[in-house]
């Protein structure tokens, strides 16, 4: 019986400790107006902070945050879906930034109960992504850095748009896995990027952002370009996978590509570069200045004879 009070005392003590540290960090936040110790819950947020020039304020990132290389050296707070509250709290952050999909809203409520300040940004569309960059810049007290970065991305967009403006739209399949075939649906910023790149997403009418497509649908939609943007995919394998469906124009015309990078898959500051990559695959003739004559009659505005 005598140790009963001790058992109760331990959580009480721990609880007050958490409250105290929370107060301490709030007090700290009050004295310096902008967050100095930031934890990122998503690779795109980490990339955004580095791109804004505030990577040094990060004190915790997910295990998936591998870009830029400096991000890999930062303390890890768990995965994208399962960040560890303990690991986050241990960094005594004055701001935690996550994204609005996944389970971050639920995690955010738990973190707020621990007294942490949490901000969530939406990244479901291109506009969302640009706004998320601006609002992250605003939160860290450098709105002009945000404006500058967004201007840079928009310039990249404009440049691509100019090149593909009058090129014919190509029906495009953008997939992240072959077996089973997982493709980009509607309500996905990648669907918008395909359109901006002068393509037309063959599964853009789907309600889901990602969907598992049956082969027959791909044959019926006859894509002119097939891109597999999964990790570790090689072009030979992707091409072999489609080899037997010769009626698909992309297969006949050898426009089946593997894109072994996640640059275009992350809703972060590299979407401008991602768009360029997609556009290069959808309309290679619009980017082929080196080969005069190759793009004759392609209708590419930006390509020079």
């Amino acid at each position: 019986m005598s140790n009963r009070p001790k058992i109760i005392a331990v959580p009480l003590l721990l609880g007050s400790l958490i409250v105290l540290t929370a107060h301490a960090s709030l007090a700290h936040a009050a004295s310096t107006p902008y967050p100095q110790r930031i934890v990122s819950l998503a690779p795109s947020v980490t990339e955004t902070l580095f791109a804004l020039g505030f990577g040094h304020r990060l004190v915790g990132v997910t295990t998936y945050c591998d870009y830029p290389a400096e991000a890999q050296k930062l303390p890890k707070i768990g995965g994208f879906i399962n960040p560890s509250l303990e690991a986050i709290a241990a960094q005594r952050p004055d701001l935690v930034i996550g994204v609005n999909d996944s389970n971050h809203p639920v995690k955010a409520r738990e973190m707020e109960r621990l007294g942490l300040k949490v901000a969530l940004v939406s990244v479901n569309s291109v506009d969302d992504i640009l706004n998320s960059i601006k609002s992250i810049a605003y939160m860290i007290g450098s709105p002009e850095a945000g404006e500058k970065l967004v201007r840079k991305i928009k310039r990249q967009f404009d440049e691509v748009q100019k090149r593909v403006a009058s090129a014919p739209r190509r029906r495009t399949l953008l997939a992240v896995g072959l077996r089973p075939l997982v493709a980009v649906g509607g309500r996905n910023f990648l669907d918008e990027l395909i359109t901006l790149a002068g393509g037309e997403n063959i599964s853009g009418n789907a309600a889901q952002p990602w969907l598992n497509l049956p082969d027959e649908y791909v044959v019926a939609k006859a894509p002119q370009v097939i891109i597999e943007a999964g990790m570790g995919s090689d072009r030979g394998r992707v091409a072999r996978n489609w080899r037997d469906l010769e009626s698909i124009p992309a297969v006949k015309e050898r426009r089946v590509y593997a894109y072994p990078s996640d640059k275009i898959l992350r809703p972060g500051p590299r979407i401008g570069e991602g768009l360029q990559e997609i556009a290069r695959l959808v309309h290679p003739e619009c980017f082929a200045e080196a080969k005069p004559g190759f793009n004759k009659g392609s209708g590419c505005e930006g390509s020079r004879p």
Partner: protein, 345 residues
């Protein structure tokens, strides 16, 4: 033991066979995209979209579905008799877990390895199903060894070691899932959910040969299976070599399950439910129950996969969702009706 009713045998299997043939044709004609049949049949050898949809995208898939459905159902029948447990199903044996782990290791570590067949003349096949089958064989040996005492396989040990082995494997899979890349994890989950998507007739032919062989082996033991459902001792007194029968049936069904999970992942519910439904309809004489379950399982999975392709078109649903969603309530209804009838007697 009652003499096998030949008329019933021919009638039941004849009707089911006709339904299966209709289902194969029907499922090959139905899908999320419209198919111009005359176009498809006119130019079989030139590449036109209609013939590719029918002969490359749909038909191999439908045929694979029939083989897997039939194989799962007949393995379910045998396992329920062998283990004396109505809950026994192919997913319980440990083999399926081993196959999943093998497949996932292949998927994570050698996703781009391809094995050329006959020096590349017959195309290439992925290592993933081979790794899965290897996993199935190893786990079969493991579970077998842990349930074999004094030359006899013990049903309880078989069931429990299978279930425990599967939970252990599930933990390993979840562990692998939490350390791999985010996009790989996505693919892994889809693989685990199971799919009949295939365009390789060679794979389909392999699976058919395998399943037919296994099925004939199981069917040949139909009479002994009838006796073993009376209890092991009764069967022994009636002249059944129960030890040998159990070992043979375990190996035969494990090999079949391993091959099936290797190509289509874990498609649940067919192996559990179809045997029970058919037992309620045709009775529990295994000489009839086995072929009837094979045919019914084929019909069921064939339609389930067609629904999976159509319901949320253009998105494809995991076929396991359909098998459980439509099979479950139907099974409960039959069970309830049967219970009311027998209690009223």
């Amino acid at each position: 033991m009652k003499v096998l009713d030949r008329k019933k045998m021919i009638l039941v299997n004849g009707v089911l066979l006709a339904l299966l043939a209709l289902s194969i044709v029907g499922c090959a004609l139905l899908g999320p995209v419209r198919l111009d049949l005359t176009q498809a049949l006119q130019n079989i050898f030139s590449s036109n979209p209609n013939s590719e949809i029918l002969f490359r995208a749909r038909l191999p898939r439908v045929l694979l579905g029939v083989a897997i459905g039939g194989g799962m159902a007949s393995c379910g029948v045998v396992l329920q008799a062998l283990l004396g447990n109505p809950l026994a199903c192919p997913q319980m044996l440990g083999v399926s877990g081993g196959a999943s782990l093998g497949g996932i290791v292949g998927l994570i570590f050698f996703p781009n390895w391809l094995l050329p067949l006959a020096g590349g003349l017959l195309g290439e096949i992925s290592w993933v199903p081979l790794a899965a089958f290897l996993g199935a064989l190893l786990s079969m040996l493991f579970v077998y060894r842990f349930s074999l005492f004094h030359g006899r396989l013990h049903p309880y040990h078989l069931l429990l070691s299978g279930v425990i082995f599967n939970s252990f494997i599930a933990a390993v899979i979840m562990f692998l899932n939490s350390i791999i890349d985010f996009y790989q994890a996505q693919g892994l989950l889809f693989w685990l959910m199971g799919s009949l998507s295939t365009r390789a007739y060679l794979t389909v032919a392999f699976i058919w040969a395998y399943i037919i062989f296994g099925f004939l082996w199981l069917w040949a033991k139909g009479l002994s299976l009838n006796l073993i459902t009376l209890g092991e001792e009764a069967a022994m007194q009636l002249g059944v070599e129960t030890g040998q029968l159990q070992r043979q049936m375990f190996v035969a069904s494990s090999l079949m399950i391993g091959a099936m999970v290797s190509v289509s992942g874990m498609i649940g519910f067919v192996g559990l439910m179809v045997p029970h439904v058919m037992r309620l309809i045709v009775g529990s004489d295994h000489r009839l129950l086995l072929p009837a379950s094979f045919l019914a399982g084929g019909i069921f999975l064939c339609w389930a996969d067609t629904l999976a392709r159509i319901l949320l078109a253009p998105a494809e649903l995991p076929v396991g969702i359909i098998t459980a969603f439509f099979g479950g309530p139907f099974f409960l209804f039959l069970l309830y009706r049967e219970g009311r009838r027998t209690l009223a007697l």
